[in-house]
């Protein structure tokens, strides 16, 4: 049976979700990985597939070409600024965001930025749009750090999202994570989202849980994955159980199948 906890997002409820997370974690074995790989290989794809919780929540429906904007850039810059702000307590969040953007621009001037990258986009925007990027990134970083300050256990801002490349299946899985909390041997993952959770928010969390376990070298799942929706004041959580891992893997494969069907219809 899968798990899904629904709470109001308050300091005490978030603390309880982290502190009461089950200590026993499910582990994915090599057999599990091989089985998942075989299923993805069975869903042929002419191009490289990238799957994440967002795509699963939309049942594989494509959401149009990706464009950088202040909203799409805020998480990347906001989380990087949060890390800076945690490392240097004398730095205000605004200054941390400015430093991060300046570092990105430095990559462009030194020739390290690829076309289409965030740094490249930042180098071409006007002053007012850059101001909007700063405003959005501060919003994001404030929400992340506000959540972290509610906790009474050790936490870090995640250095990056979790990526897992499924061998010989032309498939990359991406799991979102914003905060890693609790002891290193049984961490919980916190993920922030804007807006309000929809009906498929639970499957989305399970997908992130599964990808998180796949990226762990020993296949160990996090003790709990917690989704925060600060705009709605709601938090949802999924435990790191084997049933939840299976459900997450199943949803990923189903999404790959749905995506393939949609492409076939479009081609026809």
């Amino acid at each position: 049976m899968t798990t899904l906890l629904h709470r109001r997002y308050t300091a005490s409820s978030l603390r309880a979700l982290v502190n009461d997370a089950p200590r026993e974690r499910a582990t994915l074995t090599d057999d599990h990985r091989r089985s998942l790989t075989a299923r993805f290989r069975a869903v042929a794809s002419s191009e490289h597939r990238r799957l994440d919780a967002w795509l699963v929540e939309r049942a594989g429906q494509p959401s149009g070409p990706f464009n950088w904007s202040p909203v799409t850039a805020r998480r990347l810059i906001g989380n990087a600024a949060s890390r800076r702000s945690v490392a240097r307590t004398d730095l205000s969040l605004g200054a941390a965001v400015d430093d991060e953007i300046n570092d990105q621009l430095l990559r462009v001037t030194s020739g390290y930025a690829r076309g289409g990258s965030l740094a490249y986009w930042l180098s071409g925007i006007s002053g007012p749009v850059r101001g909007l990027v700063v405003a959005e990134a501060i919003n994001w970083a404030s929400s992340t750090l506000e959540a972290a300050r509610h906790l009474d256990v050790a936490w870090t801002v995640a250095p990056s999202d979790a990526y897992y490349d499924v061998a010989a299946a032309r498939t990359t899985l991406r799991g979102r994570r914003d905060l890693i909390v609790g002891p290193p041997d049984a961490p919980a993952i916190v993920r922030l989202r804007s807006g309000a959770p929809g009906k498929s928010a639970g499957p989305g969390l399970r997908v992130d849980l599964t990808i998180e376990a796949l990226t762990n070298p020993e296949g160990r799942a996090p003790s709990r994955i917690i989704g925060l929706w600060p705009d709605a004041g709601v938090s949802l959580a999924v435990d790191g159980t084997m049933d939840d891992l299976r459900a997450g893997a199943r949803d990923l494969v189903r999404t790959a199948v749905a995506q393939r069907r949609q492409r076939m219809v479009l081609a026809a």
Binding site: T10, V71, I125, P128, G131, A135, G233
Partner: protein, 266 residues
Amino acid sequence: MTTTTARSPHSVVEALRGERAARPRVDTTSAAGLRGELEDGLFQVLGTITKSEPITVRASSLRQAHHTTDLALSRTGLLRGMLVSQLLRLMSVGVVVVEHAFNDAVDTLRCEGRSLDLLEHLGQLDNEERARLATDVTAHAVTLSRSMGDVPRHWSPRTAVPATQRLSGGRVVLRDVVDLVIGSSGGDVASIVLFDLTTSPLGEGAERVLRYHALVHTLKTSIVPLRSAMFSTATGELWTRDVDFEMLMRSVHEVLGVVEELGGVA
């Protein structure tokens, strides 16, 4: 409680900060009671009827009576308000905006990718209407920049902060966007200030909106904010209200009134 200060504050930011020593303890217990009152009231208004679409309450639903027409809610009025809100976002992160206020605001609104209908309306304006709007927005920007003062960077100002609250099993949705939120929910004393901007003169509707912002924020975070404020760039007037339980209860009744008007059965 509304505080009367001995001297007039020099800037909006100073007024929002207020007297630090006079801040009350943070209230984390009222939210549950307010939610209960709302749920009970909504059951009385809506009964057991389930509609296909939820009733959505916004700040604009409280601003005006439904049988009147507010010119500020015309498409050009909304566009002007949206553009001035963009300028507030820029000012709060230290960008100087007055020189090319209109162009900067349009630039950011386009880049944001929201309010596509308003951008379409902007595209349909002829040269004269566009020039009038540009002059109007610049005038509002001048009033805002003269009155606002510098927002300290360590306040981590959050701009255009959205909120959604589903009530009565999803039959009613409260939606809100606060132009500027400052302060932190951590600590023993209340410090969160909600600041809203309007390009219309302040009136009775503005008071209801102040209360609505405070109510939705309380329901969202379970923490009662310190104060709710509204600034009019049309008149340069600033209203600030310290948030208390009585004010929030009043807003609960106003929301119930709007729901009744929009689709209740009672």
